[in-house]
Amino acid sequence: MNILVCIKRVPLTGDKLVLTPDAQTLDTRLLGFTISPHEECAVEEAVRLVEKYGGSSVALTLGVEPATEQLRDAMAIGIDRAIHLVTGADDNAPEWDPLATAGAIADAIRADGAAFDLLLFGNEAADSGGYQVGIRVAHTLDLPCVTGVKGLEVNGNMLTAKRETAGGMEIFELPLPAVVTVKEGLNLPRYPSLPGRLKAKKKPIVTSSLAWRDGGLEKLQLKLPPEQTHQAEMLGKGADAAPRVVDVLERLGLL
């Protein structure tokens, strides 16, 4: 199977979100970067499917130069090669909206020329939460698409995909090639090994630079939601706090 996985570099936010003074982005000077947990599962799934059925896997990102880091991370756990659509030199480069992002990704997939059996995406990007890039790419490439997937099985050229609903599971069936957007819980991603990291350094990344495109959804400013400040009641230290804890349970009518 030939599989493509789309991943997006996002800041690894800590205990508090801090905005830049112009409220255009998060202040990331003290932060590391990662990809969404959903996409980590997409990468892991691609590697497992290639281990099982043969073929090869590609990771693609549209992002700033340092997003190479996320591509190397994906290759460290077994992705074979990468495509980097470079949007700027550093993390302050202007953001692309989902329509523009999907357009550039679809162009790159066509330009790559490989016949992919499966295109994997996260259900939503961790930072901007657009809920649409995978579906847009599917439409442009005229492929069937299922979203929010937490279980995936390949049977010949058919795919069975499971997703959770309020009361249980929905099972989708669709023919390959297809686009699947996944959620964390699909699998338990492995950690990259040291040999994996060393190998990743030698794997090829094809880069191209793209000029910013307007997709019609324009970020004006970011805002922090009103803080839910709590005056915490200190119930005590260690086991001695137990009676006061149970008083609270009683007060809340939970006993």
């Binding site: 205990d15 909206d97 809920y131 249980g168 599971m169 839910q228 260690g238 609270v248 006993l255």
Partner: protein, 322 residues
């Protein structure tokens, strides 16, 4: 005209779609245009009446040849047909799994931008929307352009508002669908076994994080949850380490909980975790570190080792119950 896509089950409009209708009604009023609704399936009397309470004047009912098969692309075609025929100023759906998915298909077909999970919409030639980022930990104000504005409304973000009931005209239509629209479709459903208290709806949630130390360490948390008729959950660290299955995870990429009390044990209180507990009425944090971020987000705190505190709470409950 403003068009709202209505999700329904058992002859009832879903609450999330009522929220979308509320936003649609307010936007239609401000723009001085009518509010129309669209659904897939037949427009039951109860649904029509309810739509009227939210100010819908025309309700389009798409009748599909395969009414029991859910296929997102096919549902989207129904809306695209209405979009092409009546050029609404905006199409609004609920920011549910299906709402977001169907609207993304609509947006792709119509080649229009889509703003997902909005909490506020201000009218104008372009709409100014406020939408959720980072699962709700951050808000974005954005300008949404397009000949028809496509957006979804974040669940639980707007209070429902009814109006003087309107007369609703139902217009059934059979959209032009092809086999291709059914390439990805639901072929089976599995119901979860009833009986166990679900994390999302539990009145008490006992959550464990890295501080629990091991999979076995969760036994005390299980016992406490059982005593209180609650459910056990955890942080991403404990699901990532395999101490708990992923469906126990609380947070941005896990379950959203809304209990009366969330007892969080050995969890630091990272933003992505806390966003999943936003709807908790009260939070009790048990942590060895008095400076852990969770301590300033909780209503009640106990400083100490959870492996001493939790068994003491269990003993105290048992003693009081006699």
């Amino acid at each position: 005209m403003i068009l709202v896509f209505i999700e329904h089950s058992n002859r009832r409009i879903d609450d999330t779609s009522l929220e979308a209708l509320t936003v649609g009604r307010q936007l239609a009023d401000k723009m001085n245009v009518p509010l129309h609704g669209a659904l897939v399936g037949s427009a039951a009397d109860e649904i029509v009446a309810r739509a009227g309470e939210f100010g819908v004047t025309v309700l389009y009912a798409a009748e599909l040849a395969q009414p029991d098969t859910y296929a997102p692309a096919a549902y989207a075609v129904c809306l695209v047909e209405l979009l092409d025929n009546s050029k609404p100023q905006a199409v609004i759906a609920a920011g549910t799994e299906r709402g977001n998915e169907i609207m993304a298909h609509v947006a792709a077909r119509a080649n229009l931008p889509l703003a997902a999970n909005c909490t506020d919409v201000q009218p104008g030639a372009d709409l100014i929307v406020t939408r959720l980022r980072w699962g709700g930990s951050l808000l974005e104000e954005a300008k949404l352009t397009g000949t028809s504005k496509l957006l979804t409304i974040a669940p639980n973000s707007v209070p429902l508002a009814t109006v003087e009931p309107t007369r609703v005209t139902v217009q059934s239509f059979a959209p032009q669908l092809s086999e291709r629209d059914y390439r990805a479709r639901v072929t089976a459903r599995v119901e979860t076994a009833a009986g166990k208290v679900s994390l999302a709806s539990a009145r008490v949630v006992v959550g464990g994080g890295r501080g629990v130390g091991s999979a076995e360490g969760f036994r005390e948390l299980e016992e406490l949850a059982d005593l209180l008729g609650g459910a056990v959950g955890g942080s991403r660290v404990v699901t990532g380490l395999g101490w708990r299955p992923h469906h126990d995870q609380i947070g941005q990429t896990g379950t959203r909980i809304a209990p009366e009390l969330y007892i969080s044990c050995g969890i630091s209180g990272a933003i992505q975790h806390m966003v999943g507990a936003k709807a908790a009425k009260h939070i009790l944090a048990i942590n060895t570190d008095a400076d852990a971020p969770i301590m300033s987000k909780a209503d009640y705190v106990v400083i100490g080792d959870l492996h001493q505190v939790v068994p003491a709470i269990i003993a105290e409950i048992k003693a009081r119950r006699g």
